[in-house]
Amino acid sequence: MREGKRRSRWRRGLLVLCLGAALLAATPPFSFGRGEEEKGKDSLRDVLQSLLLPDLDGNNVSIGSFLGEGPVVLDFWATWCKPCLLAMPELQELYAELAPRGLRVVGINEDGPRNATKVRPFLQTNGYTFPVLLDLNREAQQRLHAIALPTTLVLDKDGVVLHSSFGYRPGETAKLRSLLEPHLTPKSE
């Protein structure tokens, strides 16, 4: 019986290998190059377009709908996550300062059904004005490989990942300014 189990495991492995080979065959030469002509490869546009999460009123919003105008900061956070809470005032400051120049900040809340009712009161009392979507069942966290909280993803307007980080240390969000600057509309004189 153990022999049979081992054989079935091998067969399963072989099947996945075949599938992997088919995937690679259908993939153009793979690299993480950042040239303009290769941008399509690194863009998460299609992934983000297909990721629909409810806003605080239950309306489904595509994360991809925030692309197109300027850089986008996706912040995965939760009300019980201490480093997430420390990062949020910095994020709000960044948003308030740079939104007129095209920056979009989107909070992806990972509290789940247990704390969903507390999210709006938390945002309102802290004066956070950037949009927040509820990832009630961790769909976005899984799909965007946010394997720790907080996870911060910075995307350009086409959905190309400019920066990703796990965790937070005081002062880090403010340091994103220099990364974002080339992607923002120029300051008006």
Binding site: V16, L19, S43, N59, P113, N115, Q142, I147, F166
Partner: protein
């Protein structure tokens, strides 16, 4: 059938337009450890037990097609039979204009999880039966979902996985169901749900219909000129029919029936003092015989999930088989410089067991500087042994230093007693942590905690003269290093205390550990 589906997907790749670039994303969690659980019951397990765990997750997307898998590998030095290499998830999905068709492993949520919640906790590594594996309670089968605006239609069928069972464990039972939700009028969203659970072992097939409503009162409030006020409410009710009567716990319903009710409201309002904002939420639960077969559901707990270390591990674990209770939380904020959080949670279980907690936290902020003081009073009749008159006090601070450096400090003390005969046994937990961080580079921390709690997994034997248990000390150092753009390296050395840990609303048991470990997180 699954093999045929995968072959179809492989064949379909040839039909995808060659001009489109595929999007490949992957992450990897690698953990190596040397050391052991001091309470490991197996004889002759060496102190230098070595384990290696790796979880690799890859997604390949091209236009509307998504393919992915998750592979886990585990090796333990003391027993080769504990090791495994498994594709714990593999899936194919087609997504276009709000329509998604998926085969293989998937997560799903009906309403707020009273009836169905198949999910995972990314990044959490469970330790059960001397093995490590990712936390997953997914379904293996198929799902069709259509979402547009507030409309959400979903039908699914799949075999559930228990989160405490290692990969390779045969799945039992079949869950099939559907959910439909949509906005009826502006501000009012209604939904209906139905789940059928077939145990596939000759037991009764359970049917669970339910429904939910979400109301946002802003459209009506703004008509009354109350634009600054926000008010929302959510309610969900579900009824289980044909449950196994031998598993019945609640005396309030028939043995083959179950019911669950959840109601939550939230309100936010500006106060009359300049810069002062207030908000509150209130939630109510009443669950009877609702620990559904196959652990396919996870109703909201309604107990505060704390950020502070001692409180986070001392929480109440929901008993959906019979629990009633409520939670009230209020927040006051003054110009983002000072805030006050008040929480009151209460849960009543069968046999008159009761959990009750009052929590208050006052915090001040100035730039990156934060200082908070908190106090917590609780009683937990559902703990084993029950906890009486538990008091916790503590402080937490973040102090910015020169340049990009900062210090983080947490101090807490918990005192209480465990129910015992002839007299209750007092205990005291102490916790202190100090972390130095350098933004975007590194953080180094030291954590020390000690306890003489009789309920701790390593409590030992009491002193015959005093009745008190010996004090256990746990000290560890940890480091986190950012390696280039895609990697984070975490190190641990010392003793870790075992017990309950809660992540994202879900609680699970973490064994104690004495040794050293390294974890590498990678994301592309």
């Amino acid at each position: 059938m699954k093999r045929a589906a995968l072959c179809c997907v492989a064949a379909a790749l040839g039909l995808v337009p060659a001009s489109a670039w595929p999007q490949i994303t992957f992450s990897n969690l690698l953990e190596g450890r040397v050391g052991k659980d001091p309470q490991d019951p197996r004889p002759a397990v060496p102190d230098d037990r070595a384990t290696f765990f790796d979880q690799f997750h890859l997604d390949w997307a091209r236009d509307a097609l998504l393919l992915g898998f998750r592979f886990e590998h585990y090796v333990a030095s003391e027993d080769a039979s504990l090791g495994y290499s498994e594709f714990v998830q593999r899936y194919a999905a087609w997504q276009d204009r709000g329509l998604e068709v998926r085969v293989g492993n998937f997560q799903a949520l009906f309403g707020r999880g009273l009836v169905l919640r198949a999910f995972e906790l990314p990044g959490v590594v469970r330790e059960e039966q001397f093995r490590q594996f990712g936390y997953s309670r997914d379904l293996d089968g198929g799902q069709v979902r259509y979402r547009r605006g507030s409309l959400d239609l979903m039908a699914l069928t799949g075999q559930p996985r228990r989160a405490d069972e290692p990969p390779g464990t045969e799945r039992r039972g079949l869950a099939s169901g559907a959910q439909a939700a949509g906005q009826l009028v502006k501000g009012l969203r209604l939904g209906g749900e139905y789940l059928r659970l077939d145990p596939q072992d000759g037991g009764p097939t359970t049917h669970i219909p339910g429904g939910f409503a979400q109301v946002a009162f802003e459209p009506w409030l703004s008509r009354l000129g109350l634009r600054a006020l926000t008010l929302g409410a959510y309610g969900e009710y579900a009824h289980a029919i044909d449950l196994d009567p031998s598993a019945s716990v609640s005396p309030d319903v028939d043995p083959d029936e179950g019911r669950a009710l959840y109601v939550g409201t939230d309100v936010s309002l500006p106060l009359f003092l300049p810069g002062l904002r207030a908000a509150a939420s209130w939630e109510y639960k009443d669950y009877d015989n609702f620990a559904l077969p196959g652990t396919v559901n996870e109703p909201p707990t309604l107990v505060r999930e704390h950020t502070m270390a001692l409180l986070n591990r001392s929480t109440h674990v929901l008993e959906p088989a019979q629990e009633e209770g409520y939670q009230f939380e209020a927040r006051l904020d003054w110009r983002q410089r000072a805030d006050l959080t008040l929480n009151w949670s209460r849960a009543e279980n069968s046999d008159s067991r009761r959990f009750e907690e009052f929590f208050a936290e006052l915090a001040g902020h100035r730039g990156l500087f934060t200082l908070s003081l908190f106090a917590d009073l609780a009683e937990d009749g559902s703990a084993i042994p029950p906890v009486r008159e538990r008091e916790t006090y503590g402080t937490y601070a973040v102090v910015p230093l020169h340049g990009d450096h900062s210090l983080e400090i947490e101090l807490a003390r918990m005192r209480g007693s465990r129910d015992s005969s002839p007299a209750d046994i007092p205990f005291e937990d102490r916790y202190a942590s100090l972390t130095w961080a350098w933004a975007e580079r590194i953080s180094l921390g030291v954590v020390t905690t000690s306890t003489d709690d009789p309920g701790d997994p390593g409590a030992g034997e009491p002193d015959p003269s005093t009745g008190r248990y010996p004090r256990q000390d746990f000290t560890s150092v940890g480091a986190r290093l950012r390696l280039a753009r895609h990697h984070d390296l975490l190190g641990f050395w010392g003793k870790r205390r075992g017990g309950i840990a809660c992540t994202a609303g879900t609680c699970y048991v973490v064994p104690a550990f004495d040794g050293a470990g390294l974890q590498l997180l990678t994301r592309f």
